[in-house]
Assembly symmetry: C2
Homo-oligomer: 321 residues x 2
């Protein structure tokens, strides 16, 4: 038994000849090692749990792909759980993942509340936050600087001469895509000495339709904006179509910019100018960080902020005088 275990696990203390014999027996008997038994004995499962808001959302799907690729590279498997940003469901899946003795946990998406922290604290294995972070900064995380990303987006509008800049925001309860991006918008206005106007901000739900709706509202204003900043690409694309459906043009009549750079941003007309967040890398770096933690390697900086980059395409123009 022990010898078989050794050859299966590539332990060097086996004579090549007996190793060969074992392999032959394995072949002959169709033996397949039982990873569950192995997990029980070795206290390692080579699987990590990932809780994701919604795999059918292309942003998270892209992040997940990054996670999976790196996990694969280090011979880990992934248990994937959708939690829809519902706190109670998130806590539940964290617990079942921990019951399953995952070697590590990747938590993506939603707000990290005290209840989350409590659940995390019961964990004997490392946890990293991906595309989110906890307020206190006690847990390792990989994210972008949403506020600065939004700031940069609005700022490129300003540099193109715009001063009447509307925003299609997410809900302000959401710390990352919502609050932080909205705050970046305000800061950019402030830095340029532009007064903040409440009726130039609409709250959407990140989806296309809400972008369409918000833009309709702006089009109905007496004092229309000349540019709009959307918190997500999807809402930006909705806004573009809203404008086009009225017979107006982007960027001639309105400039549009947003944050994300989903694949679709380069599959619309005009090509969408946007601040790219490195989605694949968010996942990949988070997973890489987790592998280090699982191997108990010391990591220099456990709270990484990945750089964003504004991609100038065709939906932003200099303002018409």
């Amino acid at each position: 038994m022990a010898t078989v275990s050794r050859v299966v696990n590539n332990n060097p203390n086996v004579k090549p000849q007996t190793r060969k014999k074992v392999f032959e027996a394995i072949e002959r008997l169709g033996y397949r090692p039982n990873a569950v038994a192995r997990g029980l004995a070795s206290k390692k499962t080579t699987t990590v749990g990932v809780v994701i808001p919604d795999i059918s959302n292309s942003i998270f799907a892209e992040i997940a792909r990054g996670i999976e690729d790196i996990a694969n590279m280090y011979h880990y498997n992934i248990i994937l759980c959708n939690a829809d940003k519902r706190k109670e469901k998130e806590i539940r899946v964290i617990n079942t993942l921990l019951e399953k003795q995952v070697d590590g946990l990747l938590f993506m998406g939603g707000t990290v509340t005290d209840e989350h922290i409590q659940a995390f604290q019961t964990s004997a294995v490392p946890i990293v936050l991906c595309a989110t972070r906890d307020e206190k900064g006690t847990y390792p995380s990989v994210d972008i600087d949403h506020e600065t990303a939004a700031f940069d987006a609005v700022n490129t509008l300003i540099r193109h001469g715009h001063r009447e800049i509307a925003m299609i925001s997410g809900t302000l309860q959401d710390p990352a895509n919502g609050y932080a991006r909205f705050h970046g918008y305000k800061k950019a206005l402030e830095a340029a000495g532009i007064e903040y106007q409440e009726d130039l901000v609409r709250i959407g739900n990140y989806r296309y339709e809400s972008g369409v709706e918000a833009m309709k509202y702006f089009l109905g204003l007496k004092k229309k904006p000349t540019a709009v900043f959307a918190a997500t690409d999807e809402m930006a694309i909705g806004a573009i179509h809203s404008i086009q459906d009225e017979g107006l043009k982007v960027p001639d009549d309105f400039s549009i910019i947003s944050v994300d750079n989903i694949r679709m941003a380069s599959m619309v007309r005009p090509l969408l100018t946007t601040v790219a967040q490195p989605m694949y890398d968010l996942g990949a770096v988070a997973m890489r960080l987790l592998t280090k933690l699982m191997k108990k390697e010391t990591v220099e900086n456990p709270r990484v902020i990945l750089p964003h980059e504004t991609i100038l395409r065709l939906s932003v123009n200099h303002v018409n005088k």
Copy 2:
């Protein structure tokens, strides 16, 4: 020990009073059941393996969501493995999934070769094919009828008076999205007495860019088609933009139709007419089928074909005389 096991597993043979005492002890000690040990003893892991071509592809992401929802409903977890339609990688992950003692296996995407069958045959647990099937029809599967879907698509073009119909196909090596859809195209032409012309067919790779390229080719033809059928929505959208970039219009100058109905199909201008495949349902039904198989319930029809539906939107028009 046995009593604890009984209360944890909701076995009725425990006095309510001792049950309560056990719960108190669990609470006090912060006990968390170990699913790995449970899996070893019970020979059940309540997890199913799913091998997927690419989770960052929106079609598969949507299917995966259906799978996960139903799995969740039946208290299964999902181990997700990307395999990129690479045979060798698919075989590998099938084996590691089986080593992990999954209770069932969901195989999506790529072609099912003899080697796949061989790997499947070593499995002691049920396997269902999702969005693909094996030639011999020996394994349970859930899919749509790609050929008829394509036939219907081309036929609505024909019913709108088109007779010069081009196709942007996938590779003919791919049995479902490639060969079957191409064959549906040919059949529809044949049924309408339209001669098949080789230079009206281009092979793409399912992606946007290849749709753009293929359409450029058609636009360069002396005898241009009046309509084009794309094997996937993404290529269709590429074609639309290719047309619009030349200053021409859809559907005035060209009608466009395709198969899939991804979310993006209703996020372009003009709204894309397409034959919808029920992606979420493909996953959900496949997973439901798998749960039945895992519970050893008898299932009436283990090879299900889900209906498709052509969604008339704005990219198809009657041909200009």
